[in-house]
């Protein structure tokens, strides 16, 4: 029992000499099913590529402090997207926000999650807004949901947008649920709560109308 730490299952791995990627050698059978091993190896290779791009000694730095380069790039993209949005160039804004979101998602894993969450919450909320300006309610809804998923507290705009999208699509019940949830996270007397409440009125009216016509 004491030497159980030294026991392991040997996998027939091979190293691609040029790309340094690890693969499962094809001819042998493996203890575990090959597909799980392969997915694990893909992740490993991806992580390895990430490590190689670091400075020597090629280990992930401690989570803090953060390398500011990527943050700066994302901020730049977001700013240009914001300007595009203000110029009513909504499609362009969506495109730029999408780039920024992709960049935020591609952040290396060892950087603090809270940072990625914060950043993506804002980006998703903004993209939702840009979608809504184009009347693309389902897209806006999904993005708003992503935003509140990333950061439920202090994100009243995203809650409002999710509610609004649902209301625009006539899904009154779901809109009500979304607004209720948003109100849970929002101080009742704040500015954001007021907007949520007024949207709630709208939703209730819509619900009544839908019920009377049905």
């Amino acid at each position: 029992m004491a030497d159980s730490i030294d026991i392991y299952n040997q996998y027939p791995l091979v190293l691609d000499p040029t790309s340094k990627a690890i693969n499962l050698s094809s001819q042998t059978t493996t203890p575990a099913s090959a597909s799980t091993v392969t997915t694990e190896l893909t992740e490993l290779n991806a992580l390895h590529r990430g490590l190689i791009s670091l400075d020597p000694p090629n280990i992930p730095p401690p989570p803090l402090p953060i390398n500011p380069k990527r943050s700066a790039q994302i901020t730049k993209l977001r700013d240009s997207a914001n300007t595009a949005y203000r110029k009513n160039n909504h499609a362009e804004a969506v495109r730029l926000y999408t780039y920024a979101i992709e960049m935020g998602i591609a952040r290396p894993g060892w950087e603090p999650m809270s940072l990625a969450r914060e950043e993506l919450a804002g980006l998703f909320a903004n993209r939702a807004q840009a979608y809504m300006a184009q009347q693309a309610w389902p897209e806006g809804l999904v993005d708003a949901k992503c935003s509140v998923e990333s950061k439920p507290v202090g994100n009243v705009k995203a809650w409002w947008r999710a509610g609004k999208c649902l209301a625009e699509m006539g899904r009154w019940d779901e809109a009500q649920v979304a607004i209720d949830k948003g109100l849970e996270f929002e101080p009742r007397n704040g500015e954001g709560a007021k907007e949520l409440l007024s949207l709630m009125e709208e939703v209730k009216e819509g619900m009544k109308r839908a019920n009377s016509s049905a």
Partner: protein
């Protein structure tokens, strides 16, 4: 001769005694070991750990002339594998921690057997060793890495979880889009009927020709030919395309304002 015979009796006695004792002891031990072994391990096989060790044990390429210079696997790969291993370790440690309390309560009440508790304790001990092992390996690569490797691995795990959730949300997009397309088509159908009922004047014939072409798209597949003015965004173009038809109908009354379809659609829907 007589001597041998009289001696054989005690020897035989001793032989039988020792033999039976040995058999008993070996049988007993074997059974015990089997029992302990037959207890299922708490976790499935530690894939990341297996891979890490497999990498360590890959034979160096046979043709290498300078033996020292050509390790089988570059160190960075091993580091990555170690990180993956640490990530999985964190998952397991967290799982153990969250299960411990509940299991303790269940054990006190007698709801679960002793076996389960033994398995759990074994897993706990193994994880302790495992974590210590990872830390020492990390320190062997870069001095001081042992202190931060689990921090990094923890963030990596959280980030992966978070990204999975986001991806899940984004995956719903197609479903939502299709739903909305269908729904919008049905709304428009109702709207068309209202319009038809309202004015059966000269504008009616063009509307009627328009209507059947539009009401069919309730099935999403046939809605694609309705694209007349595809807008910049790619996928929802079928939506906007069918929408522009609604504008076309209205545009009969107000010609020369196709540039603001969004406002009108809003009006039409409400």
């Amino acid at each position: 001769m007589v001597n041998w015979l009289s001696l054989a009796v005690p020897f035989a006695y001793l032989g039988v005694l020792i033999g039976s004792l040995a058999t008993f002891s070996s049988l007993y031990r074997k059974r015990k070991a089997q029992k302990a072994y037959s207890l299922e391990p708490w976790f499935p096989a530690h894939l990341q750990r297996d891979i890490y060790f497999s990498l360590l044990h890959i034979d160096p390429p046979a043709t290498s002339s300078k033996e020292k210079k050509a390790p089988a696997v570059p160190e960075s790969v091993l580091k990555a594998a170690l990180l993956r291993r640490a990530e999985e370790d964190i998952k397991r440690v967290l799982a153990l921690r969250s299960q411990k309390q509940a299991l303790g309560v269940l054990l006190q009440r007698g709801s679960v057997g002793d076996d389960l508790w033994q398995r759990f304790q074994r897993a706990e001990k193994e994880m302790e060793d495992e974590v210590r092992d990872v830390v020492s390996e990390a320190n062997a690569y870069v001095p001081g890495w042992g202190q931060t490797i689990f921090q990094s691995a923890n963030e990596m795990m959280n980030n992966t979880l978070y990204r999975e959730r986001i991806a899940e949300q984004q995956a719903k997009l197609d479903e939502e889009r299709q739903w909305w397309e269908k729904r919008r088509a049905s709304i428009k159908e109702g709207f068309m009927k209202e319009l038809d009922a309202e004015d059966s004047t000269s504008t009616a014939p063009p509307q009627k020709t328009e209507a059947p072409a539009d009401t069919t798209p309730t099935t999403t597949s046939s809605s694609t030919p309705a694209i007349k003015t595809p807008e910049s965004s790619g996928a929802p173009s079928s939506v906007t395309g069918s929408d522009d038809d609604a504008v076309l109908v209205e545009a009969d009354e107000q010609p020369g304002s196709p540039a603001s379809p969004s406002k009108k659609k809003k009006k039409g829907k409400k």
